[in-house]
């Protein structure tokens, strides 16, 4: 059996399992708490798995190991930022948010502020962040499948994007949060199992000696010690160094502002379970990133990663799958074919779980924040709200498909980094201010959300990523004046500053008065939403 056939069979198996889960979950879903928050009945461990499944996107699985395979040590810097970021979520956000919100990121702002402006603002940034992230995953899915099947055709890529889009719409409309969560749990198990297998096989080739593996990587790439040292990618100039700091800040502050991560904390019954979720997530994600280190250097040591290689042509994205093939016995061998197909299926499951989480998050925010609260002023019935959420999932899925097809020339890592920068600039300031500052109010919240959003996206539009450079989206024009490709170092302070300025230039005694209540509720869980008993 050829790798293509085996890969196709495993892909279909992944689809069959996840579709089955979704149908099962749909029978357990009735009201809004079920649809948005899975009845808040997941355990800390289950949710920890789901959080990991939601977070470890194809960009981390394929992207980081690929970045290490091509750029050596500098690829490792990503994984450190992605992991350390979880401490922000653990120490400052997860439990307090669990206690003070219900279904969306906007809930905890609306707790003490004017509902309509803050919900509109938070829904806008939720959808913006999710769409950037969604595009990254869908574009990745298209090129990944095309590369794996060895067919570089635009038609096939478009077909894959439409297929992935339809699947995610199906998961979200039918399965709601319960279905999405179980898809993410299954994905996390598959991803961890696949990664452990390849890591052990790689390490076995080097007698479980890390130093030997690194030495082989340095030698095989022909870059020597520089491959093991920081600076190969980011150490070129002062601008690239500042760009790197900007990226680092966005990674570490962005995670706790990602709406699809935040709403996962509502799926457990108590704040203590939210904490346990993050603890498990830190353990799983940390272990995973340590293994990507082995995968990345393993690919550098065992594969051809030169300028004309298959790995380099894929921007590094094929490093892990091809490494699996190599440690399984090489191209043409049965072991190689099986492992390549297996890892490809894991990557496919990874993409499906992440896009489902993102679509659900956007749909929830549109239905709960915009439809039920802003449009219907809280008068919508639960049934109505869930119906609108399902319709929204359809629309958002459709928009994502429509945007992903022309977006295929965008760099995946860039889209992910942008999603983190927007999350850190537009979402994190208002979250932190709201939970820790009595004086924060509606104007502060809207200024910080819209300001952070405009600053982060605006700076990218005027950066070399979009125009003026050889790798830009528009190579023939140059309107760039902002030198960095990562806007975080400017846009995150802008978000915080505007939140402060907006708050001190307006008075809203109601917001300050309700802060006492929010504070008690956030820290003690008094009056927090409980689990739904079915």
């Amino acid at each position: 059996m050829s790798t293509q056939t085996l890969t196709t069979i495993l892909f279909l198996l992944v689809v069959a399992i996840t579709v089955g889960i979704t149908f099962w979950a749909s029978r357990q879903t009735s009201g809004t708490a079920d649809y948005y928050a899975g009845g808040r009945s997941f355990t800390g461990f289950q949710n920890g798995m789901a959080v990991s499944g939601d977070y470890m996107s194809a960009a981390s699985f394929l992207g980081i190991s690929g970045a290490i395979a091509l750029n050596g040590y500098d690829g490792f810097l990503y994984s450190i930022g992605f992991l350390v970021a979880w401490l922000v979520a653990l120490l400052l956000v997860a439990e307090l948010l669990r206690n003070s919100g219900r279904y969306t990121m906007a809930d905890q702002l609306a707790y003490r502020m004017r509902q309509r402006p803050v919900r509109t603002a938070a829904a806008t940034s939720t959808v913006a962040v999710s769409i950037f992230y969604l595009l990254a995953q869908m574009v990745g899915a298209g090129s990944l499948v095309a590369l794996l099947l060895g067919v570089d055709s635009t038609a096939l890529k478009n077909l894959v994007i439409v297929g992935v889009g339809l699947l995610m719409i199906f998961y979200v409309t039918v399965g709601g949060m319960k279905g999405t969560t179980w898809v993410q749990i299954v994905k996390a198990v598959l991803l961890m199992a696949g990664t452990i297998l390849i890591t052990v096989l790689v390490l076995a080739k080097f007698g479980f000696n890390l130093s030997e593996l690194l030495g082989a990587a340095a030698e095989n790439t022909g870059k020597g010690d520089a491959f093991l040292q920081p600076g190969l990618k980011y150490g070129v100039s002062l601008t690239s160094k500042i760009d790197f700091i900007s990226l680092g800040i966005a990674l570490v502050l962005g995670t706790a502002g990602l709406p699809h991560i935040l709403i996962r904390f509502y799926t457990v019954p108590t704040a203590r379970d939210a904490r346990k979720s993050v603890m498990w997530a830190i353990g799983l994600i940390g272990a995973f990133y340590l293994m990507t280190l082995v995968l990345g250097f393993g690919a550098a040591a065992l594969l051809d990663t030169g300028a004309d290689s298959k790995v380099a042509a894929s921007g590094g994205n094929l490093a892990s799958p091809l490494l699996a093939e190599a440690v399984g016995g090489g191209a043409g061998s049965t072991g190689g074919a099986v492992l390549l197909a297996l890892i490809s299926a894991v990557a496919f499951a990874t993409i499906l779980a992440v896009v489902a989480g993102l679509t659900l998050t956007s749909a929830s925010s549109v239905a709960h924040d915009l439809y039920a609260s802003v449009f219907k002023k809280g008068e919508a019935s639960e049934k109505d709200e869930v119906r609108v959420a399902r319709i929204s999932a359809f629309v958002i899925g459709g928009v994502a498909i429509a945007l992903a097809i022309p977006a295929q020339k965008l760099n995946i890592a860039f889209l992910v980094a942008l999603a983190f920068a927007v999350a850190a600039s537009a979402n994190l300031p208002s979250l932190i201010y709201n939970l820790f500052w009595r004086g924060f109010n509606t104007r502060g919240a809207t200024w910080s959300i819209y300001g952070g959003l405009v600053a982060s996206i605006g700076l990218v539009i005027f950066s070399p990523v979009v125009s003026g450079s050889e790798t830009a989206l528009f190579t023939n024009h140059d309107w760039s004046w902002f030198p960095l490709s990562n806007p975080g170092i400017v846009s995150i302070p802008v978000g915080f500053l505007l939140g402060y300025l907006g708050s001190v230039t307006s008075t809203e005694p109601e917001s300050a008065a309700a802060y006492d209540e929010l504070e008690v509720r956030a820290l003690t869980g008094a009056g927090a939403e409980g689990a739904v008993s079915n």
Partner: protein, 123 residues
């Protein structure tokens, strides 16, 4: 200007909400709550500043202290790799310390206050 506070529980109703409101204020003014808040912040604030500074140090040194980062320690393992792995270790460590702190110092107080809230609202 609408300030609809979400009902305390799914179907609390107006009177229940106001009862809850007064209880929140009462709990907020209690010594137990002040102690809970103080104990939470005493951990969260310094540790957040510490791990952010530690992470930034790592990022900055990767940029500008390459001479130090490139020193080989054992075989092909250099300071940069060990520094990176230390970031993993401190992340695991701080997460563990926080969960222990929360379990022993925060959960009992929070549980007690939450119980008081439930009893007061049910009356």
């Amino acid at each position: 200007m609408s300030h609809d506070i979400e009902p305390a529980t799914g179907s609390g109703g107006r009177s229940r909400q106001q009862a809850g409101h007064a209880v929140y204020q009462e709990l907020h003014d209690s010594d137990d709550f002040k102690e809970l808040r103080q104990k939470y912040r005493a951990f969260a604030v310094p540790y957040t500043l510490a791990f952010l500074a530690w992470y930034l140090l790592y990022v900055v040194m990767s940029n500008w202290a390459t001479g130090f980062m490139n020193i080989k320690l054992v075989g092909h393992i250099n300071v940069a790799l060990v520094f990176g792995l230390l970031q993993f270790l401190t992340t695991f460590g701080i997460a563990y310390l926080y969960s222990r702190h929360a379990r022993t110092h925060l959960d009992p107080l929070a549980g007690e206050l939450e119980k008081r809230y439930r009893e007061a609202v049910q009356r």
